[in-house]
Amino acid sequence: MSNIRKAFANGKAFIPFITCGDPDLETTAQVVRAAVANGVDLVELGIPFSDPTAEGPVIQAANLRALTGGVTTEKIFDLVRDLRRDVTVPMVFMTYANVVFSYGSERFISTCAEIGIDGLILPDVPFEEKDEFLPVCRKYGVDLISLIAPTSAQRVAMIAREADGFLYIVSSLGVTGVRSHIDTDIPSIVSVVRENTDVPCAVGFGISTPEQAKKMADLSDGAIVGSAIIRLLAQHGRDAAPHVGAYVKRMKDAMR
């Protein structure tokens, strides 16, 4: 069974997204540990990309801060090796296709398996292109996470049937970022997912408040939060860890 399933074994999963190296890798390590200490179920680690086309301004800025700070794919592998000395919750990488492809898909994905990365989220790799990475992911036991969007319509069943790890349901049109309202019909997407797979599904994009997290988690198996956490990093920089810890606790408490 995929290690990622463990994240969904104890009630609703809370999944934070953290851009590695924003503003430096020491801070990332502290923030991840603070998040884990406060009960996150799975950690989504972003490998920054120069041109993150699925991201809104908040995460774009985090990518820029991280790259300006000199972070590279290999330094992030070292960060994960360090985290895995004590962090046991599942961890996945979120990055763009070229970061993996350019490094060499086999070299990248085999390293993921070796250092304890359980899955890979590539927002610019839709169902039709997943064969670019899927065979290698399956060879090394790294789950290639599929995304479902508000516009997926008749595609939901097809995507769900072949899903590995968990399904990432994109809550809204557009790019990542905090939103005051989410008006996509999440229940009907989740019901098609349930008919086609027993892989768990979590909702992300636009979630920032405990109320939103609870609502989205109630409709699915978990909630993913990115921009709201990245804003704490933008605000507090190297001192962000306790702030992220406290935020995670509020979110997790609301979802219980």
């Binding site: 699925a54 492809f101 490094y103 839709p126 969007a149």
Partner: protein, 396 residues
């Protein structure tokens, strides 16, 4: 040459967010329905002829030929089209398609501003609303085009992210499309991005070589020895090459922007300095670092200042059917000035890259050889920037 998934050899594909997949599927379906539809083509041809001023001239540049003293040089005058560049060919096609699809809003990216102006023009003509994304750096380099777009009723959004140039404008247009799909068509300006764009844009630009092939046969009774065009994303080049691809005797030469030189980091010569990657919806060659971060490319030409190249060009390079050569800023500026003085034709600085390479090879060729050089656009927009390059303090 396109397989069902929009591949050109290993290149192409649809590397885009799931949110856009139904939008590109809808576009592909509409294009398949209309591309051979007689009414659609009649309407498009009428627009191209009556509104854009086609067919464009294939002009024998006698004085240029005599001055260089070698091969006969013909200029394919896309600069004479309405709006002053080849971009209108594609835009009229896509706008008409968008109208058939019931879309009421066009969005576009632009580098030099020519595609933005063309899109704003078509939007005005078709009564559609229009938003153009343009790198902030380019809005400064091409201030006049920003004004033209606004005059035509478009909203111009300066993009401040990344290098604030063409690649960032493409990223921002893609982001905008994911947030508003139902009424909006993304009128992509080059033979790049996810399938079906590279095929659609090529087909609409192929009018260049369809005409040029017939025109050269009428004038010379034979095919040219080479066709030369500048390549950024590559739309005027693929349009210039397309109907000659099957003619093995015709050399196809794409001129890339080398900026300050291919041995410097300040270059945009993708085929010459880049490597295989996945970006902006396609697999192709990209300028990038060892970890796959897209490089901040540079060229004096805002229209060629792009870190990638269209997938069909990448494939034509792989199979050896087309050659891609680097041309520096300095060579392009010299060609810009040379063509202005010898023929009284001021080419776009983009097109001047193609002229520069013709100036290199024409003198080495026999007088009975024939070159076709595509003048993809007119150079009025570049005069202030070239004056500044030459040290003259000229502002628009």
């Amino acid at each position: 040459m396109t397989n069902p998934k929009g591949r050109f050899g290993v290149h192409g594909g649809q590397y885009i967010p799931e949110t856009l997949m139904n939008a590109v599927a809808e576009l592909e379906e509409a294009y398949d329905r209309y591309k051979d539809d007689p009414d659609f083509n009649r309407e498009l041809t009428e627009l191209l002829n009556e509104y854009a001023g086609r067919p464009s001239r294939l002009y024998f540049a006698r004085k240029l030929t005599e001055t260089l003293g070698g091969a006969k040089i013909y200029l394919k005058r896309e600069d004479l089209n309405h709006t002053g560049a080849h971009k209108i060919n594609n835009v009229l096609g896509q706008a008409l398609l968008a109208k058939k699809m019931g879309k009421t809003r066009l969005i576009a990216e632009t580098g030099a501003g020519q595609h933005g102006v063309a899109t704003a023009t078509a939007a005005a003509l078709f009564g559609m609303s229009c938003v153009v994304f343009m790198g902030e750096e380019d809005t400064v380099r091409q201030a006049l085009n920003v004004y033209r777009m606004r005059l035509l009723g478009a909203e111009v959004v300066p993009v401040k992210t990344g290098t604030a140039t063409l690649k960032d404008a493409v990223s921002e247009a893609m982001r905008e499309w994911t947030s508003r799909i139902a009424d909006t068509h993304y009128c992509l300006g080059s033979v790049m991005g996810p399938h079906p764009f590279p095929t659609i844009v090529r087909d609409f630009q192929a009018v260049i070589s369809r005409e040029a092939r017939q025109q050269i046969l009428e004038k010379e009774g034979r095919l040219p020895d080479a066709v030369i065009a500048c390549v950024g994303g590559g739309s005027n080049a693929i349009g210039s090459f397309y109907h000659f691809i099957g003619d093995a005797g015709v050399r196809l030469i794409g001129c890339e922007a080398a900026g300050r030189g291919v041995d410097t980091p300040e270059t945009a010569a993708t085929v010459n300095t880049g490597r295989l990657g996945i970006f902006h919806g396609m697999k192709s060659y990209f300028c990038q670092d060892e970890f796959g971060q897209i490089a901040p490319v540079y060229s004096i030409s805002a229209g060629l200042d792009y870190p990638g190249v269209g997938p069909e060009h990448a494939h034509l390079h792989d199979i050896g059917r087309a050659e891609y050569v680097p041309v520096t800023d300095e060579e392009a500026v010299q060609a810009f000035e040379f063509l202005s003085r010898t023929e009284g034709i001021i080419p776009a600085i983009e097109s001047a890259h193609a002229v520069a390479y013709a100036m290199k090879i024409a003198p080495t060729m026999a007088k009975d050889k024939i070159l076709i050089v595509t003048i993809s656009g007119r150079g009025d927009k570049d005069c202030a920037a070239i004056a500044r390059y030459r040290g003259e303090d000229l502002h628009e």
